[in-house]
């Protein structure tokens, strides 16, 4: 399986887990500088753990949409290059800033991912977009941010069915979302992240 450079399976605190090497975040358990990356709490972690072909090799430039408190972005910044982390809720940004302070190239941006023009003056073209916004219109967000992706770049997207429509069957929501996505992307892989992330679909795509 292809894990990016800088991501490994390690035994930390007695458990075998994905891990990255970087500054400790709050009081998480570490082992010789390696930080446990729990795929149960991270959709990108679950994608890697499921062996999806993410195209990540380590050192790439990343735009991360839906950074929240920085749990997954911290691991991304550990193995990737410059990482632009967009989050629009003020409270989690406070924690994201704390995580970014300990890292050289993790840039927190309090911005709305539906309004890319408000951060296009700051974000350079990237190799990878990671998107985990858990809000309505997830495919539209991916399409609007496609402009940041290099031609041979990858979109790594998590779609949460319940954020789109609680009443519809998740599969129907996923069908609609991927169909919309195809207006701007070619889908390379898709996989449900159940049971770790209930009613979530992971998508790997490249711009067309």
């Amino acid at each position: 399986m292809n894990l990016p450079e800088g991501v490994q399976y390690r035994t930390i605190g007695g458990d075998r887990t994905l891990a990255t090497r970087g500054p400790q975040v709050s009081d998480e358990s570490t082992d010789e500088g390696w930080r446990a990356w729990d795929p149960g709490r991270s959709k990108l972690g679950a994608m890697l753990d499921a062996g999806m072909e993410t195209g990540l090799t380590g050192g790439e430039t990343v735009l991360y949409l839906g950074a929240a408190a920085g749990t997954t972005p911290s691991h991304v910044a550990d193995f990737a290059g410059p990482t632009y982390a967009v989050e629009f809720a003020p409270r989690p940004v406070r924690d994201l800033v704390a995580v970014a302070r300990d890292r050289d190239r993790l840039f927190p941006l309090l911005k709305d991912a539906r309004r890319p023009e408000t951060y296009a003056h700051t974000v350079e073209p990237v190799d990878t977009i990671v998107q985990d916004v858990a809000t309505r219109g997830q495919a539209a967000v991916a399409l609007e941010n496609r402009q940041f992706l290099r031609e041979d770049g990858r979109l790594l997207l998590a779609v949460k069915a319940r954020s789109e429509d609680v009443t519809r069957e998740p599969e129907a929501v996923f069908e609609a979302a991927t169909a919309e996505l195809e207006e701007g992307y070619e889908l390379l892989d898709r996989r449900r992240l159940d049971p770790r992330h209930e009613d979530h679909l992971a998508v790997v795509a490249r711009p067309r």
């Binding site: 190239r105 927190p108 309090l110 296009a120 003056h121």
Partner: protein, 275 residues
């Protein structure tokens, strides 16, 4: 630089000006991305790529810290102001409407303020009465407009709380607690009796029964539950609203599972009552 050149955040920022850099990140915009590190070096904003990234790092950390602090304070604060203004406008309108009714009744006119406002006044006293009734009507309109504003803004300040409680009750809880953070820190037993402080005080002084609910009484899940089970319903509702307020404050993520869990809890409480 010419107008055609794509302008990055550093365009009009002096390399030493941290405040200007913060403002540029926060308020700037561009049509699309560009090779900002390369352009910044070309424009002599930074010596090399590493230098650029450390400047970018300082600017984004500053901007994110300042903007999140400001927005966090601003949002629930604004919501509280508009809710209180709505209450004041409504209370004042009611008070004046009573005065209008009393005055109009003494003249043998219809007592409804809206009807009084449409009358043709004859004497100077009647003119004042009609003017007052007109004020009542516009105050009522303002109260309705403020209500609409609260309904539109509460879901962005507290998405989960607004979904579970309805936007008005959500705003009222935030207002009574003195902010979303303060609400998120309260135990659910306190949220349950928010707005019933007088009754609680009387209870603590001795004698009076302890209040089972404060403003959450206006929620259909309390009011519409059989009196025998109402205390349980209030407790269950307060429990879920407390979780919703915490999710709103600490993560901002919308969790529709909370809605369903609350629905099911209340359903169980109500059917237990039937049994």
């Amino acid at each position: 630089m010419t107008g055609d050149t794509a302008a990055g955040w550093f365009q009009d920022v002096d390399p030493g000006d941290t405040e200007g850099a913060r403002a540029a990140i926060e308020d700037g915009s561009a049509d699309g991305p560009a090779d900002w590190p390369g352009l910044a070096v070309e424009a002599d904003f930074a010596a090399d790529e590493d230098d650029y990234y450390s400047r970018l790092r300082a600017a984004t950390l500053r901007a994110a810290t300042a903007a999140s602090r400001e927005r966090e304070r601003a949002d629930d604060n604004q919501l509280t102001h508009s809710l209180r203004a709505m209450d004041d406008a409504r209370r004042t309108a009611n008070e004046l409407a009573e005065r209008v009714a009393e005055w109009a009744g003494s003249l043998g006119w219809p007592e409804d303020a809206a009807a009084v406002a449409d009358r043709e006044p004859g004497e100077p006293g009647e003119r004042r009465l009609v003017a007052l009734a007109t004020r009542v009507r516009s105050l009522e309109e303002e109260a309705a407009a403020l209500r609409g504003h609260v309904e539109r803004t509460a879901p962005s300040v507290a998405p989960n709380l607004s979904a579970l409680a309805g936007p008005i009750l959500a705003a009222r809880l935030v207002s009574l607690a003195g902010g979303l953070e303060a609400l998120a820190r309260k135990p659910s037993g306190t949220l349950q009796v928010l707005g019933a402080e007088d009754a609680l005080f009387a209870h603590l002084q001795g004698g009076a029964p302890s209040p089972k609910h404060g403003v959450i009484y206006t929620h259909e899940y309390v009011r519409g539950t059989d009196p025998a089970e109402r205390g349980s319903a209030a407790r269950a509702l307060a429990g879920k609203l407390t979780i919703a307020a915490r999710v709103d404050h600490y993560s901002g993520d919308r969790r529709a599972t909370l809605d369903r869990e609350l629905d099911e809890r209340i359903e169980r409480i109500r059917t237990r009552g039937d049994g």
